[in-house]
């Protein structure tokens, strides 16, 4: 029973739990129920990935209506992996959320906060499960609307403006996506992805299809915060409550990236990337993102904002991999998609632990705290090394594959950009470490103690994962290569 309905349960459980959590009384009950739901979802996503690895893709007909008329949930290795990342990060964030949310969110809003969190989870998981392109739009709206609410819960008043900006941009992105879907529907008469995949190859000459494709891509480039459409991201990540930042940084952009891959390689025929400006624009904006966002990151005085800019740069690496449009490039993108969730999750969690203790994270607030919070500091160092791409960490594996993919096409400018990006990462991570460890402690912070276990444990789970997946690559590389085979990306 569970086995057959896995993909549906992943969406339905958090959806049903969300309103229940929202109306629960104050206290720790809402948190506990959310915790249970996220753990169940993570377990289901794990089972789903395992089943698919063993038996191949799952197709689930919603309400028994056969596709292409009914809505189909269709899950292969790629979306099973993304679903696992989303629910796994949610499950790791929740133990962390208990203390962090109590500190940062007014007490009476906590049940609503967890309700919105579950809705956001529903939306993100829904996008990964569905095989229907209009359904993607619906789930995108669910996750976006709830994340606007989540971001606006931040303590500072700028949280409201950032949420508003994000709302404008998110809505714009979703609208573009919808226009794209509409244009393509007008030519093909179907919304099912597999059905589209069969009909589109003979229609690729049509200008309407090309225009629709452009709308789809730009709509999701906005959601992905692809340079130069990233301007909403630094504000949103900086002012959102820490738990929300952790969750969104590790999942939302990954899901957007997944949709891009799905549209590029499953829905549209394979050569479409290279016969349109898509590939080149991805490479261009990827390189620009790596260089400019890393550079901006160096000059940030707020650590969360610094990490947010670094996220824009890391999205650049993934875009570069897609733009290379080869099996190796897409493999690198999928590997980095997974690894980046690990490292950014760990970094934001560690910074959140500092915020939990001193209530701020500007560079001049955190002087010398590394010596008083050694475990938090250790987490920042290791996750930072992973972000830089030092061997023995997950970040190295991603960069290794990305550089190989670029070299395969003699794309030396891309290789140089990747290398320079690593150097810039050394500088901005170095700045955090310098402030945390080598500057004298401010008098006011002399009594600051190490963060509580409940915050440290999830952080260190991610930190250890960074090292584990840096040494043992059979899981990440194996799945990425499997996914690339399923997508049918041609080698170059």
């Amino acid at each position: 029973m569970i086995q057959n309905n896995l993909s549906l349960l992943l969406v339905v459980i958090p959806l049903v739990a969300a309103p229940i959590v929202a109306i629960l009384p104050r206290g720790r009950l809402p948190w506990f129920l959310t915790l249970v739901v996220t753990f169940v979802c993570a377990a289901l996503a794990g089972m789903q990935l395992w089943t698919i690895m063993a038996n191949g893709a799952i197709s689930y007909e919603l309400g028994g209506w056969a596709p292409p008329w009914g809505i189909e949930y269709r899950v292969d290795v790629l979306n099973a992996l993304v679903a696992l990342i989303v629910s796994g990060v949610a499950a790791l964030t929740l133990p962390y959320a208990l203390l962090s949310a109590e500190k940062e969110i007014p007490e009476h809003q906590i049940p609503l906060f967890y309700g919105a969190f579950l809705l956001c989870l529903t939306g993100l998981l829904g996008i990964t499960q569905t095989g229907d392109i209009f359904n993607v739009f619906v789930f995108l709206e669910i996750s976006s609307l709830s994340s606007y609410a989540l971001i606006s819960l931040g303590r500072q008043r700028q949280a409201l403006t950032s949420a508003y900006q994000y709302l404008i941009m998110g809505t714009l992105g979703a609208t573009f996506f919808l226009i794209g879907v509409g244009l393509i529907y007008s030519q093909t008469g179907t919304l099912n992805m597999m059905d589209l995949a069969q009909r589109l190859p003979e229609l690729t000459g049509l200008k309407t299809v090309h225009t629709g494709f452009a709308f789809l891509m730009i709509g999701f480039a906005l959601e992905l915060a692809l340079f130069p459409l990233h301007l909403w991201l630094p504000n949103a990540y900086t002012y959102a409550p820490t738990v929300v930042t952790i969750f969104l940084a590790a999942t939302a952009t990954k899901v957007a990236l997944y949709v891009m891959l799905r549209i590029l390689y499953t829905v549209f025929p394979n050569g479409f990337v290279s016969s349109t400006p898509t590939g080149d624009l991805f490479v261009l904006s990827g390189i620009a993102a790596i260089l400019s966002a890393s550079f901006y990151a160096i000059y940030q005085v707020n650590v969360k904002r610094l990490l947010a800019y670094s996220s824009v740069a890391q999205i650049g690496y993934m875009a570069l991999g897609i733009g290379l449009a080869s099996a190796k490039g897409v493999t690198a993108t999928i590997i980095h998609l997974f690894n980046h969730a690990l490292m950014k999750g760990a970094l934001f969690m560690a910074v959140g632990a500092i915020i939990y203790r001193i209530g701020a994270c500007r560079m001049d607030n955190i002087h010398g705290l590394g010596r008083q919070m050694p475990w938090t500091f250790g987490a920042i160092v290791i996750a930072g090394l992973s972000l830089i791409g030092v061997p023995g960490t997950a970040g190295f594996v991603s960069k290794w594959y990305l550089v190989l993919a670029a070299l395969e096409q003699q794309a030396f400018i891309s290789v140089a950009a990747i290398m320079v990006g690593s150097l810039l990462a050394v500088v901005y991570i170095g700045k955090i470490i310098e402030a945390l460890y080598f500057k004298p402690v401010a008098e006011a912070n002399l009594a600051v103690k190490e963060a509580p276990m409940l915050l440290l444990t999830p952080t260190w789970v991610l930190v250890i994962a960074n090292i584990y997946f840096g040494l043992n690559t059979t899981f990440t590389v194996g799945i990425a290569e499997h996914a690339v085979r399923v997508l049918g990306v041609a080698a170059k």
Partner: protein, 565 residues
């Protein structure tokens, strides 16, 4: 156990040091180099190769031949001396960094492939910067950051070179590389940073003088010597290195003569000495390469000794400016004596260690008919004596009496310096033991009449020049001044240039904006509104700017799609 690569011993010790304190920690610190050396002696023979499979790559952690073995023993010895010298410093981060740094240097000389080498390069970079940062001053932290960027850049270039090589040949083995391919040049640039090629040397003269009193001893022993080893393995006989090496040997002399910070003088003379080694690598004959290895060995010992004596002064006095020192021999007689032996060694006085190794490189130059270059090297040798041999001991311990009466340094520091001194004299008088360790057959004996006489003449005339200049008052006085070197380009010129560029850019942008908006205003006046200027070009409200970008990209995409592709 037999298969254990030597660097692992150091890394295990680093972990143990983290959890121990006091005497137990000191025992671990001192025992590690000894155990590592014994382990290499017993278990790692010339010709050992052992491979481990990680990341679907076969990494060769241990590949030993006579070349790597000499360097391995040298590094064990150097880390032992530096550790003894630093024993009174109770600082966990420096203790751990020292072990990781020395261990990574060992790992690098045993690395059989470029990826392993890259890993150890990066580990050396990250661990060594701790010695600079540990000083804790604002200057040191900034200098450390610049140092780290250079070191990591070197690693990144190596990785890039390795990947290009892998793409081209499918092999990552670290053997002779040569300069026939892009990969070769990338890797040469990487090694060039580490061995302080001209214009790439800023990190030494910028970073080393800012490190802690004991940290510089570690720093001076490993990074550049690993680079010399790597060059000797990868680029032996590339003629361009002869000229690079000679430039390195000559230009620092001028800086060293006018520099006031005595540790910075030593940093310049370090570049000068590495210049001799790079020249030898460029010549590439068995004699030259033997000379390079022998010179690396004696250099690590006497340069370590000199940095230790200056560290001792810094430890007691608190600064190391030539202009404010002098007369210290009265209260620090032992340190003075050690410093003089180090100075005699670096100046290649007969009977001291520099002589028996530098003369090999010089002889190789003559044998290969580089006579003009030999003259340059002669100048460089005279210069070394001038700035390192005379200037360092003279200004620190003699010269005008500064009135400072510091105590002699603690026993462990004296012991470390004594050990270095003993080795300098031992190698200088009994070179046959060092020659026996060299990678190629040695048929060379430095003590013949021509050699000894020529060297002594050179040294005495150089000393005469110093005395005469000093008496006439012509010698550049020790001034508290800043001397401009290439690092000025990235410390001052580029930031200032960037700043000006930004101001110019802003000015230009504002000018264009005003120029663009002025007609808009007139249009507004005529059309009563100008939503374009208000919403699409202003950046103060990012939402408008983002929407602007969205439309630009959509239009650009569609235009490209329809008309270009």
């Amino acid at each position: 156990m037999n298969e254990l690569p030597p660097f692992a011993l150091y890394f295990i010790a680093a972990l143990l040091v983290l959890v121990t304190r006091g005497t137990l920690r000191n025992i671990i610190l001192l025992a590690t180099p000894v155990i590592a050396a014994i382990h290499i002696w017993l278990n790692i023979e010339s010709g050992t190769v052992s491979t481990t499979s990680i990341l679907s790559l076969d990494l060769t952690f241990t590949r030993s031949d006579k070349l790597s073995l000499v360097f391995a023993y040298l590094f064990c010895l150097a880390s032992l001396i530096a550790t003894i010298f630093a024993l009174q410093v109770k600082d966990t981060k420096q203790d751990v960094a020292g072990l990781v740094y020395a261990g990574s240097a060992l790992g690098a000389v045993f690395a059989g492939d470029l990826i392993t080498l890259f890993v150890f390069f990066e580990l050396m970079a990250v661990s060594s910067v701790v010695f600079i940062w540990a000083r804790g001053t604002e200057r040191a932290i900034d200098a450390g950051m610049r140092y780290l960027v250079f070191q990591v850049l070197s690693g990144v270039l190596l990785l890039a070179g390795a990947l290009v090589q892998y793409q081209a040949t499918g092999s990552l083995a670290f053997d002779h590389i040569g300069l026939d391919s892009t990969a070769g040049w990338l890797i040469l640039a990487s090694f060039g940073i580490k061995s302080a090629f001209p214009f790439l040397h800023g990190w030494i003269t910028d970073g080393y003088p800012e490190a802690t009193a004991t940290g510089t001893v570690f720093l001076s022993s490993f990074t550049t010597k690993v680079a010399v080893y790597a060059l000797a393995r990868g680029f032996a006989g590339e003629e361009i290195l002869v000229y690079v090496g000679i430039t390195m040997a000559c230009f620092p002399i001028f800086y060293a003569v006018i520099e006031n910070d005595l540790r910075k003088v030593l940093a310049y003379s370090l570049i000068n000495q590495v210049g001799f080694m790079v020249t030898g690598i460029g010549i590439g004959t068995a004699l030259a390469l033997n000379g390079v290895v022998a010179h690396a060995v004696s250099h690590v010992i006497y340069k370590g000794l000199l940095f230790m004596t200056m560290g001792a002064v810094l430890y007691r006095v608190g600064h190391i400016n030539g202009s404010n020192l002098g007369g210290l021999y009265k209260t620090m007689p032992k340190t003075t004596a050690f410093c003089i032996v180090g100075a005699l060694s670096i100046s290649a006085f007969p009977l001291f260690s520099g002589f028996i190794s530098k003369s090999m490189v010089m002889s190789a130059l003559v044998k290969e008919d580089y006579s003009y270059l030999w003259l340059f090297m002669l100048f460089a040798s005279a210069g070394v004596f001038h700035h390192a041999g005379i200037k360092i001991p003279y200004f620190a311990f003699f010269a005008h009496d500064s009135g400072l009466r510091p105590k002699e340094v603690p026993a462990n520091m004296l012991f470390a310096m004594g050990l270095g001194t003993a080795l300098c004299i031992f190698i200088g008088t009994q070179p046959q033991y060092l020659y026996a360790l060299l990678p190629w057959e040695v048929d060379y004996w430095p003590y013949d009449t021509t050699h000894v006489l020529a060297q002594l003449q050179l040294l005495f005339f150089s000393a005469l020049a110093f005395v005469w200049l000093n008496k006439q008052g012509l010698y550049p006085p020790e001034l508290r001044s800043t001397n401009l070197d290439v690092e000025w380009i990235y410390r001052k010129f580029l930031p200032a240039g960037l700043h000006r560029g930004l101001i110019f850019f802003r000015g230009a942008r504002e000018a264009t904006m005003t120029a663009a908006i002025a007609p808009m205003h007139s249009i507004r006046r005529s059309f009563l509104q100008s939503s374009i200027a208000k919403y699409h070009l202003s950046e103060s409200w990012p939402t408008g700017s983002m929407v602007f970008w969205v439309s630009i990209i959509l239009i650009a995409y569609l235009l490209l799609d329809f008309f270009v592709y």
